[in-house]
C-alpha cells in the first residue's frame, strides 16, 4: 500500500464503501426476511457514511468536496474493486460477497489503524468500530450456511463465483492474509483463479453510475440542496 498516495488509498476505500453501500441498499424492501431488510439497509447506510467521511478527508487534500468526489467523476475514475460493483440479487451470493468483503476490509483497516497519519488512523479506527457489527452479521450467516448441506452447497457455489473478485480487493501481502483467513474458515477448497483486480471495471458499474449520479447530473452545476 506504500506505493499509493494517501488520497489514492482513501479513494479506494471510499469508493468500495460507496458502491457496496449502494448495492446493499438494493435489498431495501425486498430482502427475504423483514429483519434482514432492516439489517441490510442499516449496513448500507453505515457503508455510505464511511464513504462520506473518507471522501471528506480526501477532499480536503484535493480542494474538492465529498459530493463532487462521490458523484462528479467518470465511471472509469472510480477506484473501487470489481467485487463491490457486481449486482447480485441472490441471497447466498449477497451473503458471500458481504463476508468476503468484510474479511478483506478488516485486514485493510488493521493496516490503516496503524498508520503514522493520525487522521487516517483515527478514521480507520472509527470505521472499524462499526464494521465489527457487520462482521458479526456476516460471520453468523457463514456459520448458519455451513451448518447444513444445502447451505454449504449454496455458499460454495457463491464463493467459487466470487473468489476471483474477492482476491482483487487486496494485493501483495494483504492478499495472502485474505487467502489464509478465508481458507481457514471454509471446509471446502478455494478455486485456483486469477484475481479480478482493482483498476478494471465491470459493465455493472456503468449502469449503477448512471442511476447513482442521475439526480446530481440533472441539476445545474453548483446547485444548493
Amino acid at each position: 500500500m506504500n506505493a499509493r498516495s494517501r488520497v489514492e488509498v482513501l479513494l479506494e476505500l471510499a469508493d468500495d464503501e460507496l458502491i457496496l453501500g449502494w448495492r446493499d441498499s438494493e435489498w431495501t424492501g425486498i430482502a427475504p426476511l423483514l429483519e434482514e431488510d432492516v439489517a441490510f439497509s442499516s449496513i448500507a447506510q453505515n457503508e455510505i457514511g464511511h464513504a462520506r467521511a473518507l471522501y471528506e478527508l480526501a477532499a480536503r487534500e484535493l480542494g474538492s468536496d465529498a459530493d463532487a468526489l462521490a458523484f462528479d467523476r467518470a465511471p472509469d475514475e472510480y477506484r473501487c474493486a470489481p467485487l463491490v460493483e457486481l449486482r447480485r440479487l441472490e441471497w447466498a451470493r449477497t451473503i458471500a460477497r458481504h463476508w468476503l468483503y468484510e474479511t478483506a476490509d478488516e485486514i485493510r483497516l488493521a493496516v490503516l489503524k496503524a498508520s503514522d497519519d493520525p487522521e487516517v488512523a483515527g478514521l480507520a479506527a472509527k470505521i472499524d468500530r462499526e464494521e465489527a457489527y457487520h462482521r458479526m452479521h456476516a460471520e453468523m450467516w457463514i456459520d448458519r450456511l455451513l451448518a447444513t448441506e444445502e447451505g454449504t452447497t449454496r455458499l460454495r457455489e457463491a464463493i467459487d463465483e466470487l473468489w476471483p473478485y474477492a482476491l482483487g480487493v487486496l494485493d501483495g501481502e494483504l492478499r495472502l492474509q485474505l487467502v489464509e483467513r478465508v481458507r481457514g474458515r471454509l471446509p471446502f477448497d478455494l478455486p485456483e483463479v486469477e484475481p479480478v483486480t482493482r483498476g478494471q471495471h465491470t459493465e455493472e458499474l456503468r449502469e449503477l453510475w448512471d442511476e447513482m449520479t442521475e439526480v446530481r447530473r440533472s441539476a445545474p452545476t453548483g446547485a444548493q440542496w
Partner: protein
C-alpha cells in the same frame, strides 16, 4: 423463532416491552435487536427473550366486587350522594 425485545432507555430505568424480532438463534436475535431497537442511541440495554420462555398469566376472577382490596378502593361519589339525600329527607 420469535424473540420478545425489552428495552431500557437509560441506566436505572425499568425494561419495557418494545416489540419482537424473528431469529433462529441468539446470535441472529442480537444483531437484529441491535439494528431495530438500538442503533439510534435509543437504548441503554436490551433483554431478548424467546417467546416460548415467557410464562404467561392471564384470566382473572372477581365475582364478588371486592373492590376494597384494590388500591383505588370504592368509588364513593355515588354513595356520598345517596347519603346526603337520605340526610336531607329526614
Amino acid at each position: 423463532m420469535i424473540w420478545e425485545v425489552f428495552r431500557q432507555e437509560r441506566k436505572g430505568q425499568p425494561f419495557q416491552h418494545a416489540g419482537s424480532v424473528e431469529a433462529p438463534d441468539f446470535r441472529f436475535a442480537e444483531i437484529y435487536g441491535r439494528e431495530q431497537y438500538g442503533r439510534r442511541g435509543e437504548s441503554e440495554a436490551l433483554w431478548l427473550v424467546p417467546r416460548e420462555h415467557l410464562s404467561v398469566v392471564e384470566g382473572w376472577a372477581d365475582e364478588f366486587d371486592l373492590k376494597y382490596r384494590r388500591v383505588d378502593g370504592y368509588s364513593i361519589k355515588a354513595r356520598l350522594k345517596e347519603a346526603r339525600e337520605r340526610a336531607e329527607s329526614r
